[in-house]
């Protein structure tokens, strides 16, 4: 019939289509047979010896006798703790260090398996964690326990579990950053000081020493400007570490900011210091365009003298593949230059803090395993592994002799930590006000944007205040 012909002319016939569908189906079935990791539940039975008191009647009188009884407790399921992390995986030295710490833990707790799940970029990981927690399925271990997560109710208060001995070996600045109103929602797992990295080769070319005061700093900037190079960029430190140092080390600043009096003299002082650099033109013209990742090559290529970042920058940006191999020899670390009588300063910032999921409160065995994980993670041994293999500072106070011996193996890291120790004032932005903690990495961003867009000081301050109030 004419109709059938029309059908055939219109493309694939039905038979062909079915064949296609069948092939697709077969392909799907094949693809479905991807090998999957099958987790086995290992039953761990450990015979236990117990001393039991029994009442025995001997010659008519009851006597209490002690007996040794061997019992095998009921078989236990292997505990699996999930620990999503933002590391890349193999090739990232922090991952390598983490694996070693994991081995330490396994020795102590062979009955527990910890899954370290590498996750993409911080923002996406945060979305996933929030989504999972909202669905009631929090991870057991948090790699980045923050105040915001605590406020959402997803973290366990660790204060009851951290005894004095444990507290004694944690750096106070580190603990500050993970405490809030008497509760401890996390333990710092990477608390790094943020010193200044100076390119001495560049300084040598203009005949300057490492600046010890702010004015010397600006002087260096002026000299560099005449050779077409920069003091530093807003993208890498001037929007954050610099003003933080200028503001928070001053006496009274912490209180004022903690009381949310945003327009206090200390904050204004900080913004004025930002304006110093902007007015002098000691930063690249395209600063507003750059993110911190774009600014790093400027330091690596010797175009700017000052860089500020945490210990994580050592392996990723200074001593990294593809970077001028002489760079690490030309870098000197120092505390932040003095702006006033209070002297030089150093800020401690956290890039990771270990938290426990709130659901562990109802799972004593898992809680025990997780606390052990926290203990191992912040033990002296682990800290040495982190320092030597990961070039990271755990925020744990290690006995001086062990620390010195360990750091001999990593001279660059040693220089870094020594600079931090040399500061007159050390501080962290924890426990101030919620908003200060929330904005600890981007408090001055809007003021920076305003300044770089050419707005006046008043407008910059106004933007800063608006930003802090909106937090």
């Amino acid at each position: 019939m004419g109709d059938k012909n029309t059908i055939e002319k219109r493309g694939l016939s039905r038979r062909d289509f079915l064949r296609l569908a069948a092939t697709a189906g077969a392909g799907a079935a094949l693809a479905a047979c991807t090998p999957e990791v099958v987790k086995e539940t290992v039953i761990v039975e450990k015979p236990v010896e117990k001393v039991v008191k029994e009442t025995v009647i001997v010659g008519g009188t009851p006597e209490v006798v002690e007996k040794v009884v061997t019992a095998t407790p009921a078989p236990l399921e292997k505990i699996v703790l999930t620990h999503p992390c933002k590391w890349l995986g193999e090739g990232d030295n922090r991952y390598d260090a983490a694996i070693k710490v994991l081995a330490l833990y396994q020795e102590r707790r062979p009955d527990v398996e910890v899954e370290i799940i590498p996750n993409p970029d911080k923002n996406e990981t945060l979305k996933k964690i929030q989504a999972d927690c909202a669905a009631g399925d929090c991870p057991d271990l948090f790699e980045r326990a923050s105040l915001a997560l605590w406020e959402s109710g997803w973290l366990l208060d660790l204060a009851p579990f951290i005894d004095d001995a444990w507290k004694a070996r944690l750096l106070p600045e580190s603990l500050e950053l993970t405490s809030w109103q008497g509760r401890i929602f996390g333990i710092g797992t990477e608390t790094s000081p943020i010193p200044c990295f100076w390119n001495t080769k560049l300084l040598g070319e203009i005949g300057a020493e490492v600046p010890a005061t702010w004015d010397e700093c600006l002087d260096v900037g002026e000299k560099l400007k005449s050779t077409g190079r920069y003091l530093s960029t807003f993208a890498i430190g001037l929007n954050n570490h610099w003003p933080n140092n200028a503001c928070f080390r001053r006496p009274g600043a912490a209180e004022a900011m903690g009381n949310e009096e945003w327009e206090n003299e200390h904050a204004l002082f900080a913004i004025e210091r930002m304006k110093d650099v902007y007015d002098g033109g000691y930063h690249p013209a395209n600063d507003l365009d750059m993110g911190w990742r774009d600014a790093v090559p400027l330091f690596q290529n010797g175009q700017m003298a000052l860089f500020m970042n945490g210990a994580w920058a050592l392996d990723q940006q200074i001593d990294a593949e593809g970077v001028d191999p002489e760079l690490k020899d030309n870098v000197i670390f120092s505390a932040f230059p003095a702006t006033g009588p209070e002297g030089t300063s150093i800020e401690y910032k956290m890039s990771g803090s270990l938290g426990l999921g709130h659901h562990l409160a109802n799972q004593p065995r898992k809680l025990d395993a997780a606390l052990d994980w926290a203990r191992v993670w912040t033990s002296v041994e682990a800290s040495i592994i982190w320092a030597v293999d990961g070039r990271a500072n755990m925020g744990v106070i290690v006995p001086q002799d062990q620390w010195d011996a360990a750091l001999e193996q990593v001279p660059l890291f040693k220089k870094f930590m020594d600079a931090a120790a040399s500061a007159d004032v050390a501080y962290s932005l924890g426990s101030r006000s919620k908003k200060v903690q929330l904005r600890s990495w981007n408090m001055w961003n809007k003021a920076k944007d305003a300044l770089l867009l050419g707005k006046s000081m008043d407008e910059a301050v106004a933007e800063y205040v608006k930003w802090m109030e909106a937090a």
Binding site: A31, T34, P120, A134, A135
Partner: protein, 295 residues
């Protein structure tokens, strides 16, 4: 049409593509437009491929020149670090399954929308259009909770199902427009032979919609292949991660190995491009064989 007569010219022959445009200047101008735009769309990919063969520092120093050293090792690294081999399998699975499901869902829905009128039909069309207004990110948190309740969490089939359901507005729009132009005679013949709704659909309308179904399948497969956020949120096991997630995972917080990231992206894009290249003729045919004239 007579109003638009200009100076009468000798009618051109069929083989001359540009009737009426005699001056070579205009011809050059239009070729310039076509070619210029083609260069603009193709250039970023050329850039991607070239830069995937450099060292990282060279990307920052000479972003627009040819690589000084052709670093093919980046591709080996990308294959290994992003686990392209295993992840592609899972992406392929999700693409195929979501395509099959999308075809099933859209064809049944479009069949009704194009063939029947009933009270509330316009409302239904509007209801489906609402789906266009909502990007995936809004639904993330409720969907995370919901998918667990329904048992489709951490499940590649579930992800495929959600893709198919999410694209229903677009797919049914495409298919309805096409189905509306299929003549009614064939189904009337089938009805006279005693066919009910299902037979009419399965034996007449569904086969006749094949061109549009191919178009639909292409769009759906391409979407599923590169979709990231839902694939990331809805999958937990590492052994089930798809390629899109694997590639974004290469963007670390402190450090991104840009050249490996570029290489991995190229590896992910190539199958999609080949797929589209093979099917592009059918894609256009599916939309044009009577379709897309009226909404």
């Amino acid at each position: 049409m007579g109003n638009q007569v200009q100076a009468v010219r000798a009618p051109a022959t069929r083989s001359d593509s540009w009737y009426g445009i005699r001056r070579s200047v205009s011809r050059v101008a239009l070729y310039a437009l076509l070619g210029g735009w083609a260069a603009m769309t193709a250039y970023p990919f050329l850039w991607l491929v070239l830069n995937s063969l450099k060292h990282t520092w060279e990307v920052f120093q000479n972003p627009f020149s040819l690589p000084k050293e052709w670093v093919f090792r980046n591709y080996a690294d990308a294959w290994r670090l992003a686990r392209v081999g295993t992840m592609s399998q899972r992406s392929l699975y999700v693409s195929v399954v979501s395509t099959v499901l999308a075809i099933a869902l859209a064809s049944t829905t479009s069949f009704v929308l194009s063939r029947f009128s009933f009270r509330g039909k316009k409302l239904l069309s509007g209801y489906l259009m609402l789906g266009f207004m909502v990007p995936a990110t809004i639904r993330l948190l409720p969907l995370a909770l919901f998918s667990r309740k329904l048992g489709v969490y951490d499940n590649l089939f579930g992800v495929a199902l959600i893709y198919a359901a999410g694209r229903l507005p677009f797919n049914s729009f495409l298919l309805t427009a096409f189905m509306e132009t299929i003549p009614h005679e064939l189904e009337e013949a089938a009805v006279m032979d005693g066919a009910g709704m299902w037979r009419v659909f399965w034996n007449v309308l569904f086969p006749l919609s094949q061109p549009a179904l191919v178009t639909l399948a292409t769009f759906q497969a391409l979407y599923s292949w590169s979709e990231f956020i839902l694939a990331f949120i809805l999958i937990e096991s590492l052994s089930k991660r798809t390629l899109a997630v694997g590639i974004v995972s290469l963007m670390g917080e402190f450090f991104t190995n840009y050249v490996v990231l570029f290489a991995a992206s190229v590896l992910a894009i190539i199958p999609a491009i080949i797929f589209f290249l093979l099917l592009q003729k059918y894609v256009v045919k599916g939309m044009s064989a009577g379709a897309l004239k009226g909404a």
